[in-house]
Subunit: 138 residues, 2 copies
DNA sequence: TGTAATGTCTCTAGTAACTAGAGGTTCAAG
DNA sequence: CTTGAACCTCTAGTTACTAGAGACATTACA
């Protein structure tokens, strides 16, 4: 059994974040000492590692909640887990796509001004003011 | 002079968002009718178009605030504008980089489970539980 | 056993950029 | 003059935390 600080160190999840996960129902309510401090065991550590890993991969709290639910029921079909993962993947791909468009446009705009002139001649400002100066839809 | 609804239609910025921009100081406080309703002119339209365009490109409200400040002072150096644009571009590139890593890992994990098995054998769940199943740092 | 330092507790509020809704007022058309 | 759409302000909710206040618990050391 170890404290929340210790759990935090081992998982690299900050203490308030651990409490937040508990409040959100991702972590079961921890046992308490007589003085009301949380104590964790290996199971708590593993669950938090799972959460942390999923968060690192960009899954939402809600998605993680469902994934944990499934993990707790080994006998269920994993089609939901598979769907969650692939829909998240689709989201990520979509984001990349949109960011690449932004990148293209931003780099074009940005390279149009070296910062040595006056605001009235600034290509960055002019581009923002006039959508026609854009090369692409966005 | 036209109403906030009209401005909304022309710029495709929602009415509450327009009010929000005003509250945040991006838009000057609009003139009002005797009945206290906002009225806008061409200048208001242009400013909102500028904001909308900048938001579409992912600039933060704060950044846009600075950009507008510069636009209102044609005699100032535009080095700040140039910096804002290039730092935002760097942010976008960074995000793309990180998302690509995620995408790689997610697609690997996702393709490991077709959703037809049981939760206990699910590669998605197993991967989240065990960081060692990851192919990359993230 | 006393004490001091560190850790922990709960609660509230703040972050970014909106969105939704309640309850009331004004406008424009007919 | 009435009616319905548009508008007003204000509050609260969204996501996933983070920061801070004020109080209590634990641990190490003398």
């Amino acid at each position: 059994m170890f404290s929340i600080g210790e759990l935090s160190k081992r998982t690299k999840v900050k203490v308030p974040t651990i409490r937040y996960y508990e409040e959100m129902g991702l972590l079961a309510e921890a046992e308490r000492t007589r003085g009301n401090q949380r104590r964790y065991d290996k199971a708590g550590l593993e669950r938090l590692s799972f959460i942390r890993h999923a968060r690192d991969l960009g899954f939402s709290i809600e998605a993680i909640s469902s994934l944990i639910e499934l993990q707790d029921h080994p006998d269920r079909s994993c089609s939901a887990a598979s769907k969650i993962a692939s829909s998240h993947l689709a989201d990520v791909r979509d984001k990349i796509k949109r960011l690449k468009l932004l990148e293209k446009e931003l780099s074009r705009i940005s390279s149009g001004c070296d910062g040595n002139g006056l605001s009235e001649n600034c290509y960055v400002l002019a581009s923002l003011a006039d959508h026609d100066l854009c090369s692409i839809e966005h």
